[in-house]
Structure formats: C-alpha cells, structure tokens
Amino acid sequence: MEKSELQFAAASESHYGRCNPNSILGGTFSILALGFLFYVIPAFIEIPAYMQHPLLSPRFLPQLAGWLVLALSLLLMIDGLIKPPKRSETDEFRRGVPIMRQVLMVAAGIVYVLFFEELGAIGSGVLASVLLFLASGLRTIWVYALAIIFPAVVTLLFIYVLNVPLPPGTLWESLSLI
C-alpha cells in the first residue's frame, strides 16, 4: 500500500491531476448517456402499437448501446480518478496556434455547409479553397490560380464524365449569369 502511494507520488509530475482528460471524458459521456437513455429514447423512439416480443422493440438496441456507453464511461471516469494518465508531448504542438487560422478554417466549412447550393460547386469550392490558403498564409499568386482551376476542372469532370449533377449555383441562376 505504502509502496504504491510512493510510486504514485513520484510519478505524478508527468501525470495529470484529478482533473485529467479521462475523468472529464468519462464524466461527460456518462451525462450524455443518461440524457440519451432517459430523455432522447422515450421522446424520439416510438413503440409500435403491436409487438410480438420485447426483444423486437425498436428501443432494444439503442437502449443496450446506451447502457453500454454509460457503464464504460463510469468505468473510464473512475479509472481516470484512481490512475491519472500520463501527459503527452504532442500537446505543446497545439498551443499558440494563431486564432485567425482557425477562424478561416471554420469559415471555409461554413461556406460548404450553408452556401453549397447557392454558390454552386465551383463557387463554393473556389471560395473555401482561397480561405484555407489564406489560413496557411500562402503568398504566391499561382497557388491562388490553383484554387480556381481545381474546383472548376473537378466539377466539370463530375458533371460531364461521371454524370454526377453537382449544383451549378442558384445565386448565379437567379442573376442569369449561367
């Protein structure tokens, strides 16, 4: 007993404290699992009017998976509290990243999700690529030419060779540009 405590004390410098990622993760997941089991399942999975056997219930598998996640998250949390995991060096690499870089990435994602139909495959592809190039601080002009050529060529390839109808862009259509 004493020995293990000593070991623990010696090792604790390279370990996280009580507030370590595993306990937080386990805690978060157990709360989510509880919410899923006791709110989401009753509210969003109907029970059919007639059912031959309880094993056939539409709620059976989601419940099974939900309890599994709950039990394992608790295990993970307790495990994390008793035996905190070691710190990894890669964390250092993730500090001090310019905020602009991340904002531009999110902006590119938003362009794709919200304006894909409006701007069309080419338009959104060009805009998002330019945003991402800016995020990496690229200064060469020919690189930005790539951001225009690639989406255009790939879109035309999809549409005419592979017969996949990517959207041309409702914005341009309403402006009668195409």
């Binding site: 007639y50 017969n163 259509e173 009668s176």
Partner: protein, 330 residues
C-alpha cells in the same frame, strides 16, 4: 478590384433583366417543346431495377425526341426526389420521374410528406409492369393457394420481403388482410438477403417480383402458387392467377404488381405531354423494347394519361388501407 467585380455583376444583372423582359414576349410562341435536354429522375440508387429500366427507356426515348439525361436521387424511399419534383421550379418543364409502387406506398409510410401523390403531378404513362409471384420453398407441403390459406389459418406462418414498404412486403400484407390469416412479416435488406431464407425454408412464403424468383422456379427450388396479376403471365403459363386460385378465400379482388411509369410536375406543358406520349407509343411498339421486356419478366404498361392518374389514385387508396391495418400508417 472589388469595385470592378461589383460593376461587372451590376452590368450582368442589367443584361439579365433585359433578357428576362425579352423572353417574356417569347413565352406565347413556345411551341417547340423539347427546348432543352429531358431530365429523367430516378428516385432510387444507380444499379437497381428502377434504375436499369429507366436507363433503357431513356435510351430508347432519346432516339425519338431529344437527349435524355438520367439522374439518380435516392432518399427516404422515393419520397425525397418526388418531393423535389412536386415543388417544381426551374427546369421542371423538362423533368420526368420514374414512379413505381414506392410512390403510392411511400405516401402512407412516410410521415408529413409535403406533397399529394396524385394532385401535384401530371401523369404521362405507365411503361412497364412486373408481376409478383407467390412462391413457397420447393419442399413445402403446400401446392395450392387454397392449401396454404387453410394451413395459415391454423398456424402462424412467415413471409419474407426485401424491406418494409416494398411492393413485395405490401403484397403480403394485402394477402394477409384479404385471407384473414396471421402471417408474420420478416424484413430483409434487398432480395439478395431475402432469397436464401426462402430457399432454405426459414420463411414459409414470399410474394416476390418475377425476375428475382423466376430462375429458382425453373430449377425447382421454389414452387409458384399464383401470380398476382389479373391474367396469367406468359412466363409461367401453368401458374394460376391469385384471383382464380384464391376463390372462396377472399382473394377475388387481389391484384398487385410492380409498375413503373413516367410522371412530371403538374404544370408540365400540354404540348410536351402530347409529344412525349406519342414518342413513348413509338418506343413501346418498337422491337427493341418488346425484346427487352422478357429479360425482366416484365410486360408493357397499359394505362396512359388520365387512366394512369386514376390507376395511381386507386393504388394510393389501396395501400393506405393496407398500411392502416398493418399498423404502418403514419
């Protein structure tokens, strides 16, 4: 730079306005209907039966009219693509959709559809019908529909289908309703998974599409008890129709088939409709089409225009009742 772009856009916008005002005058004399490629939407994934049939029809149709581009838009049965067609909008005067039983069954199965499966569409014509066949495993003790129904009234039996809401599934539910038997539905994902269970006798019966089971009927691994169409099929001339074989068991009105037909947005131009129907008549009389049908155990569609609309109306009603009794109605 930005200013330049802005002015370019404004210029284009002005051009566009002029173009619109010019074309308004042109609207009256739009007598050349295929002004553009026809888009044929297939509401299922590429490679399925509906897709195959549509591509063949498109291929033949474009020899008569103009280029026909096939687009696959799968999702939520066939209801996603159908809903898009119902909304109309740009290009809907050149857009067709290959409707199938999913069109009528989906109307009962999927909640809050934002369209009416009959009123929101124009009905071109029914192109192809594929009969369903009531089949039992080769070593099954039942040889006629009557024997089967008698047995099914005494004990619980099961029937397989390639998925809930498919025409194969609903044919079974209809059979169950009319004969007052307790058949248990065992859903699979696709005929490829459903067939082995039937061949090995894990399920007692199925109401499968003709092309899926035809080779197995020939090889004796399955027994055909009845075809579901009102007249006997030329592929299985010895097999009675369900209406004949099920006399006295409530099956006198039983009729189902996998039908495929072209529908369009309700505002589809009258002139296009006439031209399309004429072109389809030509296609369906052609040798290539009649040679193609037997490969799918299929028959040429019969109903056109308003008759087709009435047929679909009837189907919607029929499946809505069946779905209600099977607790599937949303």
């Amino acid at each position: 730079m930005l200013k330049f772009v802005k002015s370019r856009v404004r210029n284009k916008f002005l051009y566009a306005l002029t173009a619109v005002s010019l074309s308004c005058g042109g609207l009256v004399q739009a007598d050349e209907w295929p002004e553009d490629n026809i888009r044929l939407v297939v509401p299922y994934s590429a490679g399925g039966t509906t897709d195959l049939l549509s591509r063949k029809v498109a291929d033949l149709l474009q020899k008569e009219l103009t280029t026909v581009v096939v687009e696959n838009r799968p999702g939520a049965g066939s209801t996603v693509a159908t809903g898009q067609l119902a909304r109309g909008g740009r290009g809907s005067d050149h857009m067709l959709l290959m409707a199938s039983p999913g069109h009528t069954i989906g109307a009962s199965l999927y909640p809050n559809l934002r369209y009416d499966p009959v009123a929101d569409f124009a009905f071109v014509r029914n192109v192809i019908n594929i009969p369903n066949v009531m089949v039992v495993p080769g070593d099954s003790p039942y040889n006629t529909v009557a024997e089967f129904v008698e047995a099914a009234r005494k004990q619980e039996m099961s029937f397989s289908s390639p998925g809930i809401g498919s025409s194969v599934h609903m044919s079974g539910e209809l059979f169950k309703n009319l004969t007052q038997t307790q058949l248990v539905h065992v859903p699979f994902r696709g005929s490829g998974e459903a067939l082995p269970a039937l061949l090995s006798g894990d399920v007692d019966v199925a109401f499968e599409n003709m092309p899926t089971v035809y080779p197995h009927i020939q090889s004796g691994k399955l027994k055909a008890l009845a075809v579901t169409t009102p007249s006997a099929s030329e592929f299985l001339p010895d097999v009675p129709t369900m209406q004949d074989a099920g006399k006295g068991y409530g099956l006198e009105t039983y009729e189902t088939s996998a039908w495929f037909g072209l529908i369009a947005h309700k505002s589809f131009p009258e002139e296009g409709m006439v031209k399309l129907q004429a072109a389809l008549d030509k296609v369906m009389a052609g040798e290539e089409f009649t040679k193609f049908l037997p490969q799918f155990g299929a028959e040429a569609g019969t109903v056109v225009g308003d008759d087709f609309r009435q047929f679909v109306q009837g189907e919607v009603q029929k499946w809505s009742d069946v779905a209600e009794k099977a607790n599937l109605k949303r």
